[in-house]
């Protein structure tokens, strides 16, 4: 899902950069100083998650965790993922610096959407409801990111159907894996430290 250097057209790169800058500005305003350590922690988790590869069939997928970051941070997912992606680009050569705006938007917006869709469910009394919400957030985080990636590629000239289907098929195992990991993390956090799951007061 890290779109490489030189794949996207300049208008797509510019649009992604502008949208990400807006999300970043809004997200930074939303960070309260007391919540700052959590934002930094999730940036670190996201930064490292891409190194955890799990074998799935002949290929392997790596964790993204944008759904979990979104659930925990809300709009602050934008600065957290922007920092994580920038460091991945510089230190691991994942993606590239020119595509940073597009990649940030493609992964952070799904996180924010998951926050609005699923965080009310995560704090329900029923443990199963909150785990289901966690699974849905992990699954949809990758699903929406894959869709946005497909849109970015199509807007840069790829044939629509082939690009979209290839990306969805390639990421399906990742979606399930993310769902399971996010559900486990949510179930763990709500027992150990429930405050972490609704850090943003905005609903």
């Amino acid at each position: 899902m890290h779109i490489s250097e030189g794949v996207l057209s300049p208008p797509v790169l510019a649009t992604g950069a502008a949208l990400s800058a807006a999300g970043l500005a809004w997200g930074l305003r939303k960070i309260e100083v007391e919540k700052l350590p959590q934002v930094a922690l999730m940036a670190a988790v996201f930064f490292l998650a891409s190194l955890i590869h799990l074998p799935v069939g002949p290929s392997s997928v790596h964790l993204v965790l944008n759904g979990l970051v979104g659930l925990m941070l809300g709009w602050a997912a934008f600065p957290a993922l922007a920092v994580g992606l920038a460091l991945q680009a510089i230190l691991f050569q994942f993606g590239g610096l020119t595509g940073l705006g597009v990649n940030t938007f493609n992964m952070a917006l799904p996180g924010v959407i998951c926050y609005y869709l699923f965080s009310p469910w995560v704090m329900r009394d029923s443990r199963w409801a909150s785990m289901a919400a966690g699974f849905a957030a992990g699954f949809c985080g990758v699903l929406f990111a894959a869709l946005l990636t497909a849109v970015s590629l199509v807007a840069s000239g790829d044939a629509f159907t082939s690009a979209a289907w290839a990306i969805l098929a390639a990421n399906l195992p990742g979606m399930v894996l993310e769902g399971v990991v996010t559900a486990a993390a949510v179930s763990f956090l709500r027992q150990v430290k429930p405050a972490l799951l609704n850090i943003d007061a905005v609903h």
């Binding site: 890290h2 700052l36 590869h53 920092v83 230190l91 990306i167 763990f188």
Partner: protein
């Protein structure tokens, strides 16, 4: 309480399992391409960081002006072969692994040299041959092969020996692995940025 503890350990176990798997397949999603000239052909290989081969991926070659001058697809082993495309160097070899993953490899005039020169200079040694032949007619006649032919065979054999080494050097230079230093450096940056942000906020208040 014991159930909670158990879950703690399950989570830790899952993470450990993930990290154990990580080094072997790390960076499976970063793609590389490498190309070299062998005789009048352009050969190359596409692979993912960590060692996987890039199968059935389209490969395109562009000249210095950005015009496409060659096309191929990687086979079951991640290799591709095409007739050496003619164009103004440096040539750009681009492999598209789909899903927004793409790799580039630039071939300088120097790298193209062997094949391009062999193709271009073929008439030149032929012209030089009579002069050499005049100087030492016995030697050329005795070997039964012209200087140009010997040169061609030698360069072909040398290329076959040297190309795998070249491929290895490209891999080494392109650092396809994440080191502990990168990871710790990144975590340090995140800590530093958070500190910077907190400092900025505290000054404002």
């Amino acid at each position: 309480m014991s159930e909670r503890l158990l879950k703690c350990w399950i989570l830790v176990g899952l993470l450990m399992a993930g990290l154990l798997v990580a080094p072997s397949t790390a960076l499976a999603h970063r793609v590389f391409v490498y190309a070299y000239v062998e005789g009048d052909q352009l050969k190359g290989e596409g692979y993912f960081g960590g060692g996987g081969k890039a199968l059935h991926c389209p490969v395109q070659v562009f000249d210095a002006g950005g015009k496409q001058i060659g096309e191929a697809e990687t086979n079951e082993e991640g290799n591709f072969t095409m007739a050496l495309p003619k164009g103004q160097p440096p040539l750009k070899v681009v492999l598209n692994a789909g899903d927004g993953h793409r790799a580039e490899y630039e071939m300088t005039a120097e790298e193209l040299g062997e094949g391009a020169e062999a193709a271009a200079e073929q008439p030149a040694p032929a012209q030089a041959e009579p002069a050499a032949g005049a100087a030492a007619p016995a030697a050329t006649a005795a070997s039964g092969a012209s200087l140009a032919e010997i040169e061609k065979v030698v360069s072909k054999v040398v290329a076959a020996q040297v190309n795998p080494l070249k491929a290895q050097m490209v891999r080494l230079a392109k650092k396809d692995e994440v080191t502990l230093r990168d990871i710790i450096g990144g975590l340090g940056w995140i800590l530093g940025l958070a500190g910077l942000f907190a400092w900025g906020r505290s000054r404002r208040n």
